[in-house]
Amino acid sequence: MIAGKKLVVLGCWLLSFAALGREVIPAMPAQYFNDYAHVVPQATVAQLNTKLEDFERTTGNQVVVAIYPKMRSDSSIDDYAVRVFRAWKVGEKDKNNGAVLFVFVDDRKMFIEVGYGLEGALPDATCKQITEFEIKPHFKTGDYGGGLTAGVNAILAATQHEYKGTGTTVYASHAGHNQNWSTIIFVVIFVGVMLLQFLFRGVSRRHGWLYSGGGWGGYSGGGFSSGSSSGFMGGGGSTGGGGAGSSW
């Protein structure tokens, strides 16, 4: 599964690279709170990450924070945020209830990109207030941990009553689904091989080569969910460009 995920990400990256020149769409983050710029204290990272994961369990909303050193694109931040959000597919597919807070430390820019389904709870004016008055004052003094704690709390407060969660996360349920899929594929291949053998029995007595297909399913897929079921995975959500940001 991890290898597949990486391949998809690589594909997206190559595609975007070909279409837009120098732009780089970062890989889907593995956690809810991702500090790639190393500006937030470890304890704060862990605390906010747990908070955001619990938030998906209870409300179904996927809220992700991604902090990068630099924006790797020539576009404006709002434009870029749409493309990255869509590549990560934050939010559930039928609800589009995702939001991503992007921070580019060296560019001194941030943007809250909001999925279609949270535009009601997080209108642009609210996003602007959060970035401008909750986060920015902290960032100006270099207190990234404090700014992001305030920002995350404000986003969660605004969106907490919008939807009801299922008690699990996309990441946790996906591991199970994949296993189901591999079982289904295995059964389909197995039944297909049996049918083929049955059909061809009259035409050819030599059916040794058909048997070799039987080993395929192999149940090699069974091991991938053995890790912890903690982590972030996009649920298929999309955005139409909602949200707002600030510079500091």
Binding site: D107, P123, A125, E132
Partner: protein
């Protein structure tokens, strides 16, 4: 011998079924792509309408500021009125490039009038920093972003649709079945580039940070 003949017959029937499935699949694909362009278009209209709805509020807020340049506001009101005059009724007009161009023309006039207003507001510090205006600015900026995204999505959807009806084998039957080429938005008219105004609240951050 007889068994082989039966086998061949079965294969031919299977081949025909497969061909029919491909034809149905091709038709359904065109229907799906056509509907995607319609829904992408609906999103474009929603976003433009959203902007139309913001304008009265914006004009009211700005004209409340003492001695605000009236000419800028008049331009906006006129541009908004001319958008209303463009007779554009969704689906029927969507296949007509001239009508789409007229719609686009009217909207881009409104876009440039709005961005002029925002430039003028820079000269009114009190207005610029009022809570009411900040909120409107955020809404307007978000709406412009949405318009840009919706236009791009619409163009992508139309491009997929147009490619599909011009590809083999659909090119033979698409026109006969009522699938006609649809026009796009022009790549870089005023509407797409002009409203990209960055609303930086402090002047220092207006210059991009050095890498």
């Amino acid at each position: 011998m007889k068994k082989i003949a039966i086998g061949c017959g079965v294969l031919v029937v299977l081949g025909l079924i497969l061909l029919a499935l491909v034809a149905i699949g091709g038709y359904n694909k065109l229907v799906r792509l056509g509907q995607q362009t319609d829904s992408a278009w609906a999103q474009v209209q929603t976003d433009y309408q959203r902007r139309m709805d913001l304008i009265p509020n914006l004009v009211a807020t700005v004209s409340g500021a003492a001695d605000f340049e009236k000419s800028t506001l008049t331009q906006i009101t006129e541009a908004r009125a001319s958008v209303g005059k463009v007779n554009f009724d969704g689906k029927a007009s969507l296949s007509d490039p001239a009508q789409l161009a007229a719609f686009d023309q009217a909207q881009s006039q409104l876009s440039s009038a709005l961005s002029r207003l925002l430039v003028v507001v820079e000269r009114y510090p009190d207005l610029k920093s009022s809570a009411n205006f900040l909120e409107l600015q955020a809404q307007l900026e978000g709406t412009e972003n949405r318009i840009a995204v919706a236009r791009r999505d619409f163009n992508d959807a139309v491009q997929k649709y147009d490619t599909a009806i011009k590809s083999f084998p659909a090119v033979w039957y698409a026109a006969a079945m009522g699938f006609h080429e649809k026009p796009y938005f022009n790549a870089a008219p005023g509407a797409e580039t002009a409203p990209k105004v960055q609303f930086d609240f402090n002047k220092a951050a207006a210059t991009p940070a050095k890498p």
